[in-house]
Amino acid sequence: MRHYLRLSLKDTRFRIFWWIFGIASLTLMMPPSFHELYPTQADRDVLKATMENPAVIAMTGPIQEGDYTLGVMFSHEMAVFMAIVVGLFNVMIANSLSRRKEDDGLLEVVLSRNITRGGVFAAQILLGLLMNAILALVLFAGLQSFGYESMDTAGNFLYAAHTFGFGLFFYGLTLLAAQLLPSADWVFGIVLTVLLLGYAYRAATDVAAPHLSVISPYNWISRLSLYSENEAIWLVPFILGPVFLLAAWLLFRNRDLGDSVIRLQMNRRSRNIGSHLRLAFTLSRTLIISWLAGMLLIGASYGSILGDLESFIGDNEMLRQMAGEGGNGLTVQFVGTLMVIVTIIGLAPPLMVMGRLLKEERRTHLEYLGTLDIRRMKMMGDYVILALAAGFLSLFLANAGMYAASLGVEGIGLTFGDYTVSAFNYFPAVLLFTGLSAFLIGLHHRLHVLVWLYLLYNFFVSYLGQLLGLDDIYRVLTPFHYLNETPNEAADLLACLAVGGTGVVLMVLGLILFRRRDLA
């Protein structure tokens, strides 16, 4: 067991290091910058007042009662958001250690070498505990080192503890899914869905029906009331993490390797796959369709809360002023914010489709297909086509969902046309990201991770920009600086052409580079 643990650790330590480094620096960057931006309590109280609106609550969760101290501000704006990243970290590592290893046949080799299942599983658990503990420790030490008055030891401890708990929750869920589902791709897809839908669900219910929000683990974080009441009792639900681990162990103990509890075996007629595009589509179909369903759902859940804005505004004098007559302006503004968020989420499916191309390369399929006289340009081109289609449909379906779910709400004043225009307005971002993805794949088979980091950067900047009015200097590097915010503003055709054009240029470069480069 010890040897296997050491082996797994060696295999994953760089990835774990970079994740922890990234999460910790992103988190620890914030308290000092908040302190600089809003040095006095009066500054923060003004900020708090502007933040008590549904758009912000949808993003960050409800605002705590009481003073908006530096600590409260930090936890309110960062904790829920960072939880997504922490969850992603745990899903990826857990999946690579469990189902991915099993799919690759490595577990089989290991188990034949005098290492028991208990040993393998213990190593998987220990690694999860270890990495989350290190992350929590780094965060705790970092937060302690600031010595801000409102960020006391109890609060810092609780912040670190919830990170640990949330991480382990998704680590456990992933290991459990690894026993239930037939392949690593399925595990990643399903747990990622839980991670993202959990966030979307919390966003919708926090605004519309706060008592229902408690089903989502993100809401437990809000309920901890970090740096004010410190309701440590809300750490208790995170016990589910270890429960998942136990369930996973019970399933893993008696299961055949390569088998799964849910089989998903569909017996179909033999398909006739007559072209490379068809092949590429067959390979990415499940991925694309499930993302599209998710986008529709996210759009609908956002749309469904629009009706509650009225009552929300009713309670708040300041918002009433901001919103003007009838609160209509505010709703449209809120829709504009939602569209940016939906677009950023909708950029994930095109990138995942492009990732399939890399996977085909890694599995030596491209090398093999090459001997069928399928050109590299065609290989990449077909995935680009699928990625663009997936990207457009993602935006379109999310917008359509938003429209459909808000049909019953009176006085929004947005037509289906407005939503469609919005989908087209943000499509250049899909071109840009797909282009960047193609360019990176064309350069080298290991660089694709950069486009994911860029997506995360976009999310972060849009998110914080929305909250804090972040310096425009950060936004300059994102397409959202140039594209107008529909439906508040009319689409700017020139900006669309510029962003989309950049994407197309990158795409062409990518295709040319990919044609020439060595396959991995």
Binding site: S270, S275, E367, D518, L519
Partner: protein
């Protein structure tokens, strides 16, 4: 007329030279064996031929023209990788059909014959296939294609002996149709049986090319001698290897260039029988292999 010609192919990965100045040609209707120890550079050479990687220097020519000048040269090639990885969620039949569609071939009758002869169940998903079954899918697809150059990278490592024979039969029948075959293999008996000419590669360099009969000079001759006398003195001669004598029988290998001396020495003994066993590819290979490990 040469179908495929490699001219001084060199491939470096960073500082490491995987393949250096590799040259050989394959003629029409010829089976060309490509042998060498693990990591010698066989797969790298093949990947340069099929265009998965581009050589650092050197040229690959097909039908007399450099492949860089013929963007569609791969339509003349069918390839079976050493480690066949298929699409886990497609069935074997779907993969074979896809390959046929892509090479514009619709001979379903031949397909069914091949599937029957290789005993493949085409309705199963590829992820449920054993290694041998995955290889069969790739082999069937290759034999179905109209390509006139078939490239096999260690094609039989997962096949049982019966299937191996089926494979050999199809290689020979492809050859009789005038196709050329590049066969990289570790199984020497297979290369010996099928190949008209061979190339031996070690540490990225071709160390020998030619007809099997021409390579005999570098082999060791295997002698079986019956004699009542003690031949220990012969066993100690230079160029004599693996000497064994039991009762009235002695057995040993002699380097080809030492045969004359050894035969002269044997004249001095009373011999009841002298048998020469046919040289084997294995002996050629071992000699280079020994030299390689001895040097390093």
């Amino acid at each position: 007329m040469s179908v495929l010609e490699l001219k001084g192919i060199t491939k470096r990965f960073g500082k490491f030279t995987a393949v250096e100045e590799v040259s050989f040609e394959i003629r029409e209707g010829e089976v060309f064996g490509f042998i060498g120890p693990n990591g010698a550079g066989k797969s790298t050479t093949i990947r340069a031929i099929i265009g998965a990687i581009s050589p650092t220097s050197g040229e690959v020519r097909l039908h007399g023209k450099p492949v860089t000048a013929q963007p569609d040269y791969r339509k003349h090639i069918a390839y079976v990788p050493g480690d066949v990885q298929l699409w886990p969620n497609l069935t074997g039949g779907e993969v074979i059909r896809f390959f046929m569609e892509m090479s514009g071939n619709a001979d379903t009758e031949k397909m069914e014959t091949l599937i029957r002869e290789f005993r493949l169940d085409p309705k199963k998903k590829c992820k449920t296939y054993s290694k041998g079954n995955r290889q069969k899918v790739a082999l069937i697809s290759a034999f179905l294609s109209d390509a006139d150059l078939l490239i096999f990278d260690e094609p039989t490592t997962g096949l049982d002996p019966l299937m191996e024979r089926t494979f050999h039969r199809h290689v020979l029948s492809a050859k009789s149709e005038g196709k050329s075959i590049l066969l990289s293999s570790h199984i020497l008996s297979e290369v010996e049986k099928l190949a008209d000419r061979i190339a031996i590669i070690r540490e990225g360099k071709i160390i020998e090319t030619g007809r099997f009969s021409e390579l005999k000079h570098i082999t060791r001759v295997h002698y079986l001698v019956r004699t009542p006398e003690d031949l220990a003195a012969v066993g100690r001669m230079e160029g004599v290897h693996e000497f064994r004598q039991e009762g009235g029988e002695a057995e040993f290998l002699v380097d080809a260039d030492r045969v004359k001396d050894v035969l002269a020495a044997l004249k001095r003994y009373e011999l009841e029988g002298l048998e020469t066993l046919p040289p084997k590819l294995e002996d050629i290979f071992m000699r280079y292999y020994d030299a390689g490990s001895g040097a390093s």
